[in-house]
Symmetry: C2
Subunit: 418 residues, 2 copies
């Protein structure tokens, strides 16, 4: 335990030093490092897969299920995607150094804001070793030093990827400790990482709700977190029926196990008889289990929905349906059960749409669009390190900009305060 | 204790409900409430001063010192300033609802950001009862519900001010619990307030470092905090001598007990013999005690500075001075001892200025300007709820915008994800 603490302190100290150096590094140097990492991964494909095989073997021996083993595997396709991701992040605009809102003040100073790296970012994640490369690339491009703590089940893979990252950093002349992979599987390392407020500026956990809640509890450092995705589509009384059916079907069935899938469909009473029967038919053909309130079950065949259903993120082909009086009742339901992720209204009514946009408190609020669009790539961020359900700092899909902060800059000419 | 918890839970629940209603309130209604609060305070001046007298009396009996009693007093001047502050905040532009960066995406959706209130803001502060009005006004204008917890020494004053706030809310037809003053002096109330993550979105403590550290330790809710203000001015080898002397003198002596006053002066070796003697003369005339490193003391008369001096926020007519080799040594010193508040360089060299702006990690970084400018009013924010030394979310002076967040909005036309 003391050893782990000392080890983590050292990583922290080194990361802080590297983050200072990264403030002077040019965009071209950062991009060169990213390209060199891609080259190293391409060259070391055989080595990476050999190390990955050790993790897979241990995983099998430890009885990991097929889905987990699948996520753990560095297949050729996964490696190709990592390489392509590095090229893409190299091509994104550098967010650092952007100066905005410079204004002259009556005192004679000129004041504005400059976008700067946060400093040191700690990422804690499970199984998928490709996160190691994604996270390293996004942190580096945004000028941050990174400390990466992957799952113990991927330790051989992550160490091998770390070697490729270091090769890329070295090739571009950047400090080795710009990206550090925690090379111990001791769980105490995580506990220490989230407490080192002197060295770490933000923690981003990626994984199951249990992991994220535990980290949030223990952290003494700000956490960008993603908890539930209990997303709603509300079909308003003034909805266009075709759009309503198209969006409600897409939001549930385009993919099930994702945070931006719809979990509960809300339907205005005046519209229920028109949209529920055709929707129920589509869902049933697709194998989606329906659970409804009383009013829903008076119109279509569905199991009764319980109080618990409204508060559940199914991540599965299950949908709860509730008929509500109007947009106010829909927003009441959302305020009570939403996880603040993504909420969509289907309506042709301008005033209702405007109210929904202003009043619903979620990281993404939509009109006549599928909740499945809540995603960094779909929003044009180019890349995404996660989706935040917090309101503080970064909200919704977090790309390079979410890994930066803005400081004030003041220019004068020997200007003093009277 | 159970009673306090139940009481705080109720305040939290009510604040959450009020914050939902505030999302639909117009700018005109918020401004009307602020103007009505100003009217209520003007009309209730005698009552406010009578209640304030009870606090002053109790303060004297409890042996509060003269400075604290002074800060506690609701003099005519303090009341006039509160009224004027309310008018000014009413006149500021409303940050809520601002839509930015709306862009069409290839999928057919249109994506951008909307500025929205954070929700419920908890403010914890000491002695000065005028903070009650400032904080209430800033939170309301930015569309947030507020829970205000002042010091027990100001409880009568704060209750009386709360009555004026409620009168203003009622006159404008806004929910009473838009602004709630905690009316118990039980310290457990603070402990509960900073833990109610379901009801409170952010805590802003205003007070001494001890209070802020304690709250940060206990909080389960994000905290916007202001710790030390250990600010530096660095006089570069390429500084203009007149500007250097003017700014270094102003940054230390324009006011002593403030967080943006300079505490340590750094001087490039090549410039020391030129600027230190005239500066030392000015400081001495003003009664500023000088503490210097060896190299400083070889040029001017000063007490020896200890390691502790570099890490101390004097808030007093004391200045530590260090002669450094160059801008790199100055930035090393700043990286080590700065509290990340405000740092200024005096130089005519473009490249050195550009490096200092990019590489120094502080909430405000300045060139040829006095650190005393780091202030919400000087920056043109119109009002300030505090100065954040955090990097996360709000940084530096926090005005109305710092009390808001941005959510994503997505507009479509029945658009679905392929």
């Amino acid at each position: 335990m003391d050893d782990v603490n000392a080890y983590m302190e050292q990583l922290g100290y080194q990361a802080r030093e590297a983050s200072r150096q990264l403030r002077r590094v040019s965009t071209a140097e950062k991009n060169a490092a990213l390209e060199a990492m891609a080259d190293a991964i391409a060259k070391q494909r055989a080595m990476l897969q050999a190390e990955n095989a050790k993790d897979l073997e241990a995983g099998k021996a430890n009885g990991l299920d097929a889905a987990l083993l699948d996520r753990l595997q560095l297949s050729d396709k996964v490696i190709d995607t990592m390489i392509e991701g590095l090229h893409q992040i190299a091509q994104l605009p550098d967010p650092v150094g952007e100066i905005s809102d410079m204004r002259m003040r009556p005192s004679g100073i000129q004041v504005g804001k400059m976008r700067v790296p946060l400093g040191v970012v700690g990422i804690i994640y499970e199984s998928r070793p490709n996160v190691t490369i994604d996270a390293a690339a996004l942190c580096l491009k945004s000028g941050n030093a990174a400390i990466l703590r992957g799952g113990s089940e991927a330790i051989y893979s992550n160490r091998a990827l770390a070697a490729c990252i270091r090769a890329g950093l070295t090739a571009a002349g950047l400090p080795q400790s710009s990206v550090q992979v925690v090379e111990t599987t001791d769980r105490a390392a995580v506990g220490r990482l989230v407490q080192m407020a002197d060295y770490v500026d933000v923690i981003i956990p990626r994984g199951g709700k249990g992991l994220i809640e535990r980290i949030s509890q223990e952290a003494r450092v700000p956490v960008i977190k993603h908890l539930d995705g209990i997303c709603h589509v509300y079909i308003d009384k003034d909805a266009d029926v075709d759009k309503a059916i198209k969006v409600a079907f897409n939001a549930k069935t385009q993919r099930y196990g994702v945070c931006n899938a719809m979990e509960t469909l809300l339907v205005a009473d005046a519209m229920a008889a028109q949209v529920l029967p055709p929707l129920a038919k589509l869902y049933r053909e697709k194998g989606v289990e329906l659970r409804g309130c009383e009013r829903t079950r008076a119109i279509i065949d569905a199991k009764p929905a319980s109080e618990e259903d409204w508060a559940t993120e199914y991540l599965a082909p299950i949908l709860s349906i509730r008929v509500v009086d109007d947009v106010d009742a829909a927003m009441d339901h959302i305020a009570r059960y939403s996880s603040g992720h993504t909420e969509s209204i289907i309506t042709e009514n301008f005033t209702t749409a405007r109210r929904f946009l202003a009043e619903v408190d979620a990281s993404s609020v939509m009109v006549n669009a599928s909740t499945r669009f809540a995603d960094g790539f779909e929003y044009g961020l180019g890349a995404e390190i996660g989706i935040s359900t917090d309101k503080f700092h970064a909200r919704g899909p977090v790309g390079l900009e979410g890994l930066t902060s803005q400081k004030w800059i003041v220019l004068g000419d020997g200007t003093i305060r009277k």
